[in-house]
């Protein structure tokens, strides 16, 4: 049995490394992106094998799903910009006949020069072999698992990863939310002149599917959020699922994007960090330490923070997909 598992591990790792290699060696960017999404899905499988279902969920939703959508829309934008520059007159989206061919020209990276081959190869080999040497010398310790286990009863939740994320190391999680927000502020500061270049296919099929998928996604998101306190799941996975539903909606009708109102949108994207910080400051004032909770209040406060964080993450991910600053934000 264990030999079969080793064979499975080896095949999976070979697949992951092979796909990553094909992705990096590809001259066609579209192919590279598709391979990268495949890479993310294979990674999710590896995380399941490493007994990390939370991470597998996050990798599939965030690493492969959201990142994949971001990469694909970026390629579409690059193609549209190139087509515009080549034809010399501004129009979005570009004319149909030039579509695929302009894409091939614009989204193509020539094979790398020969002279960088050996230096890069030797550098990567040295780094890789040193890393492997260091890793093979390490003791087979269990890390912090016993310490976390000993404190689970006062953490307010039953799932160790949620306990670490929102109680024991809440500061890291707070800053993680801040980083998502800063990335959005950075993308917004570049301007507000961005449309989704892809046009939806006409016909009843896409709207019909959306009518089915979006409610299911919302229910799933809420379920994953709620499950996070006792089973794999939590704010980030839920936020990614809701964000994916939002991205689908944006994709389906880019022409009639509802004008996002300025102030509610700003409040929505900052709700997660703002609430987290308020709870943290309250903890400091009440003597539990910054970002600390009284044991009895830990569960409700964690759920409250997670709900706000889910909302903010979902909104921020959709906004990062749209990329440009909404016109309402300047009002």
């Amino acid at each position: 049995m264990s030999l079969l598992l080793v064979i499975f591990d080896l095949v999976l790792l070979a697949g992951i490394i092979g796909v990553a290699w094909r992705c990096l060696a590809s001259t066609d960017l579209f192919r590279a992106v598709v391979l990268f999404i495949t890479f993310g899905l294979l990674l999710a499988l590896a995380w399941v094998r490493l007994e990390a279902p939370d991470i597998a969920l996050a990798e599939a939703a965030i690493g492969a799903g959201i990142t994949g959508a971001l990469l694909l829309v970026t390629l579409e934008r690059l193609r549209s910009i190139m087509a515009e520059r080549h034809s010399g007159r501004p129009h979005t989206p570009p004319p149909d006949p030039s579509g695929p061919h302009a894409l091939l020209r614009a989204l193509h990276d020539p094979p790398p020069e020969r002279h960088s081959f050996f230096p890069a190869l030797i550098f990567a080999l040295v780094v890789g072999s040193l890393l492997v040497t260091a890793l093979w010398h390490q003791p087979q310790s269990t890390g912090l698992e016993p310490v976390v286990d000993a404190h689970m009863d006062v953490s307010g939740v039953d799932h160790p990863i949620t306990a670490v994320l929102l109680n024991f190391r809440a500061y890291d999680t707070f800053l993680e939310l801040a980083i998502v927000l800063i990335a959005l502020l950075g993308a917004w500061s570049l301007g507000r002149h961005d449309l989704i270049p892809a046009r939806p296919a006409p016909g009843p099929i896409l709207p019909g599917t959306l009518r089915l998928l979006v409610p299911v996604a919302i229910v799933t998101g809420v379920y994953v959020l709620w499950a996070g306190s006792h089973a794999p799941g939590g704010a980030f996975q839920a936020g990614a699922i809701l964000g994916a539903a939002g991205i689908l909606l944006v994709l389906a009708r880019p022409r009639q994007l509802p004008m996002a109102p300025g102030i509610p949108l700003r409040l929505g994207i900052t709700a997660g960090v703002a609430l987290f910080l308020l709870v943290g400051l309250y903890g400091l004032g009440a003597g539990h330490g910054f970002l600390g909770y009284a044991d009895a209040w830990a569960y409700p406060l964690i759920i409250l923070i997670e709900v706000a964080a889910t909302l903010s993450i979902a909104l921020t991910l959709v906004a990062l997909f749209v990329a440009g600053r909404p016109a309402g934000d300047d009002a």
Partner: protein
């Protein structure tokens, strides 16, 4: 009865983190008032840092290592995260507060477009909060996260003008930063795999000169050198710093680079201390000499005022590298190195702010055509010169004290019988001469004959803030004793 300062210290430390984050969050949620929130927030954080430093120095000799560590959420390491305040971080917090307050005041005048203001202030307040958290962090993984907060907001600030040069510099800066962060994170992961803890104090207690520490040291040092633009990993610096808006350049060259350097110093004095050998010191010192020469040469060749200043950052950080071998011989030298970094940050920020004022007045910063504006703006030229004098290390400035102490340490090495010590002394003395050459290049047009041209009107903030900061840099010499004393309050350091 007033309680002893050390009982208030933990709350004040956590409060500083909370306050700087709160300012950033409120400005993000309410961008219309971001500049006002930013101004009041900057004053509040500045006052808080000063109060904290008074508490810290008052608690000083009695403050045990434990008193300066704050368990967030009440969870002690290894389970939870600890904030960590000692003399080194206190010094850098005060430095950050001074430079950041000056930059905030300057930005009030510099960024007046309504839309620019809405973009600038939240990002800038996040950057400041990130720096405060970086200096207070005592956990390896948390350091990675704070580094990401700092670098993402810094990149966004470089890019936010949206010009081709700025965006191109920002892309390069971002990729380099992500690479540096990943390299750092891989080091953290290796250390965690070996020792099973993330807290720096616990890691320090367990670390030895094994393969894990060696590889982690290589990865984390390389990552931080990329971020700090230490030679030979410096190529990104000039495009990013030179094309950013003036207040951003000031913060990047003054504080962000110093933050990475701080972390290098902290790691090598703590977790990686068993690995520091003389051969390693000499290698780093040679890199420093190369940086000094290359950076100075570029600064002497560059055609734009801000490029000169950006390249001089590469050269000045060469100095810091030259000090590494001295630190291995004379353990006390590290305090001088930190003091030099502090003076450099103050002077460099004021030079960039002054350059920004001149660029605003002239509409460009090409040195060849800047003469008229330089002649018409003696106050700004004086600020430029005063800060430049500090960079050169002329007597009675902060830079002089720092370079004098470094030279003393270098001569000590020679007396101790080290031949290569001669090279360090020559580099330290010669670097000052090269600095003099490029500082004179910047101010020389002011003394040529020719017509005056006042150019665009300049707000009072932009006129006076560079001068004020340059004065602080020049007078920093008088605070030298206090700084060096504060630095002795670093547990574990010699």
């Amino acid at each position: 009865m007033i309680e002893a300062p050390e009982t208030w210290l933990p709350t004040a430390i956590a409060g500083l983190v909370g306050l700087s984050l709160a300012v950033a969050v409120v400005a993000t949620a309410w961008p219309r008032q971001a500049h006002r929130i930013g101004l009041f927030g900057a004053l509040a954080v500045f006052a808080w840092v000063l109060g904290l430093s008074a508490l810290f120095v008052a608690a000083g000799p009695e403050a045990e290592a434990a008193a300066t560590r704050v368990a967030l959420g009440g969870w002690e390491a290894p389970l939870g995260l600890m904030l960590h305040l000692d003399g080194l971080s206190m010094t850098l917090l005060v430095l950050t507060a001074i430079v950041a307050l000056a930059t905030s005041l300057y930005s009030l005048g510099y960024i007046h477009d309504r839309i620019e203001r809405r973009q600038f202030w939240p990002l800038w307040l996040w950057l400041w909060a990130g720096l405060n958290m970086l200096f207070l962090s005592g956990d390896a993984f948390n350091l990675y996260i704070t580094l990401e907060v700092v670098s993402l907001s810094a990149v966004a600030l470089v890019a936010f003008t949206g010009t081709a040069a700025a965006v191109s510099g920002a892309v390069r800066y971002l990729l380099i930063n992500i690479l540096g962060s990943l390299s750092f994170l891989m080091g953290v992961v290796l250390l965690f795999g070996e020792h099973g803890v993330l807290d720096l104090v616990l890691l320090e207690a367990r670390s030895e000169a094994g393969p894990t520490e060696r590889m982690a040291a290589v990865l984390m040092t390389a990552g931080l050198m990329l971020k700090a633009a230490l030679f030979p990993l410096h190529v990104w610096l000039a495009p990013a710093h030179g094309s950013a808006p003036a207040p951003v350049s000031a913060v990047l060259s003054g504080l962000v680079v110093t933050g990475s350097f701080y972390l290098l110093l902290r790691l090598w004095m703590g977790v990686f201390a068993p690995l520091a050998t003389p051969a390693f010191g000499i290698l780093i010192g040679l890199l420093g000499v190369a940086a000094l020469i290359w950076g100075s040469a570029q600064a002497l060749r560059a055609g734009r005022l801000k490029s000169i200043v950006a390249y001089s950052t590469v050269a000045q950080f060469g100095y810091l590298l030259v000090a590494f071998p001295l630190m291995l011989v004379d353990p006390d030298a590290w305090r001088v190195v930190v003091f030099f970094a502090v003076v450099h940050a103050l002077a460099k920020a004021s030079v960039f702010l002054a350059a920004g004022t001149l660029q605003h007045a002239a509409g460009h910063d090409r040195l060849a055509e800047l003469g008229g504006v330089l002649r018409a703006r003696p106050r700004t030229v004086f600020a430029l010169g005063l800060a430049g004098v500090s960079l050169m290390g002329l007597p009675f400035t902060g830079g002089f004290i720092a370079k004098y102490l470094l030279l003393e340490a270098g001569l000590g090495t020679i007396l101790a019988g080290s031949v290569i010590g001669v090279l360090w002394v020559v580099a330290i003395a010669g670097g000052g001469l090269l600095a003099a050459a490029y500082v004179l290049r910047m101010v020389a047009p002011a003394f040529h004959r020719g017509p005056e041209r006042a150019g665009e009107a300049v707000s009072p903030w932009m006129d006076w803030v560079p001068l004020g900061l340059a004065t602080v840099a020049a007078l920093a010499g008088f605070a030298g004793t206090l700084t060096l004393h504060t630095l002795t309050l670093t547990p574990g350091a010699p």
